[in-house]
């Protein structure tokens, strides 16, 4: 189980994470954050493997990832 915490208030909607996700699981919210950006949303939590490539490309430390250990 992967737990992805999105610090949406830090997101500037640059889209680098979306372009990076190998499974195309990320999209843009239709709600703006307090900065006026449309932040990232995770579409399908179940499919996320927690590879963290999105987080590595994020310039704003929006994404935090934890994995359930067996």
């Amino acid at each position: 189980m992967v737990e992805m915490i999105m610090h949406v208030e830090l997101c500037k909607g640059c889209g680098l994470c979306q372009a990076t996700c190998p499974q195309d699981l990320l999209s843009t919210s239709d709600q703006v954050n307090s900065k006026g950006f449309y932040p990232v949303v995770l579409l399908d939590k179940a499919k996320c493997t927690g590879c963290a490539l999105c987080a590595r490309m994020c310039p704003d430390l929006v994404i935090e990832i934890h994995k359930q250990t067996a």
Binding site: T20, F37, R56, M57, H66, T69
Partner: protein, 251 residues
């Protein structure tokens, strides 16, 4: 729960002011991750450039000094000489390092100063609004090359990493890029090797990092990563440009 990815200790909680998609955020985080992994946060001192990263002192959770434009390697020299057991790094952009501060970086490298330079090359002046940098590509449009950079007028872009690699005192010189996740991870390894070079007292180390400036390039962040790959990498080849024999054992 095992944490796969979270904010490094060596960054403060302050939200970054950089434009959407700017590479500075990624590079700040990589430097901070390396500082955390090496366990050197409490003995690291960094310097900020003049340019977009001028307020990096607010972002790095290590002691920081703001240097005058281009003088970071000299400021870092002053710090390192009086505190030789600390880890000192400079964080500089292409205007700061390759234009106004070229003298300082060349001589710090020549002296084999035991400092590490993180050199962010995005081929443009960001903070002042998109003027030509010494690393702007031929043909590149900037606000001071509105007809494109021309070799006969502005000369050719400077390959800083290769130039500094000719100096004896520079023992680890790499050029990396943050245009995709694979290269981000490679960049981090290079930064770590550069810091380890300093920790082992081998000499001067520098990692040039190709980065994007979507705002001043007039591209979306994703388009900017593609522009970097298509235009910058052919002129600025990636890899470890110089690994002196003394550094070979460090990985």
């Amino acid at each position: 729960m095992k944490t796969v990815f979270s904010r490094p200790q060596a960054l403060t909680n302050k939200p970054l002011h950089y434009c959407p998609g700017c590479g500075h955020g990624i590079i700040h985080r990589l430097v901070a991750e390396v500082i955390d992994e090496l366990g050197i946060r409490e003995k690291t001192i960094g310097t900020c450039p003049v340019g977009c990263a001028v307020v990096a002192n607010e972002y790095f959770n290590v002691d920081m000094q703001q240097a005058a434009h281009g003088r970071s390697p000299a400021v870092a020299t002053g710090i390192k000489r009086v505190l030789p057991d600390r880890v000192v790094f400079t964080y500089q952009g292409d205007g700061d390092l390759a234009s106004i501060g070229m003298t300082e970086v060349v001589h710090a490298a020549a002296r084999g100063e035991l400092i590490t330079t993180i050199f962010v090359n995005n081929a443009i002046y960001g903070m002042t609004g998109g003027q030509m940098a010494p690393t702007s590509l031929l043909g590149q449009f900037t606000t001071t090359t509105p007809y494109g950079r021309k070799k006969e007028l502005q000369g050719s872009p400077i390959r800083v990493a290769e130039m500094l690699a000719t100096l004896e005192g520079a023992v680890y010189i790499a050029r990396m890029s943050v245009h995709n996740a694979t290269h981000v991870m490679r960049t981090k390894r290079a930064i770590k090797r550069a810091f380890e070079t300093q920790l082992e007292g081998k000499g001067y180390s520098l990692v040039e990092i190709l980065s994007t400036c979507p705002t001043n390039w007039g591209l979306s962040p994703v388009e900017a990563t593609k522009w970097l790959a298509d235009n910058m990498i052919p002129y600025y080849p990636l890899g470890e440009i110089k690994v002196a024999a003394a550094v070979e054992g460090i990985n």
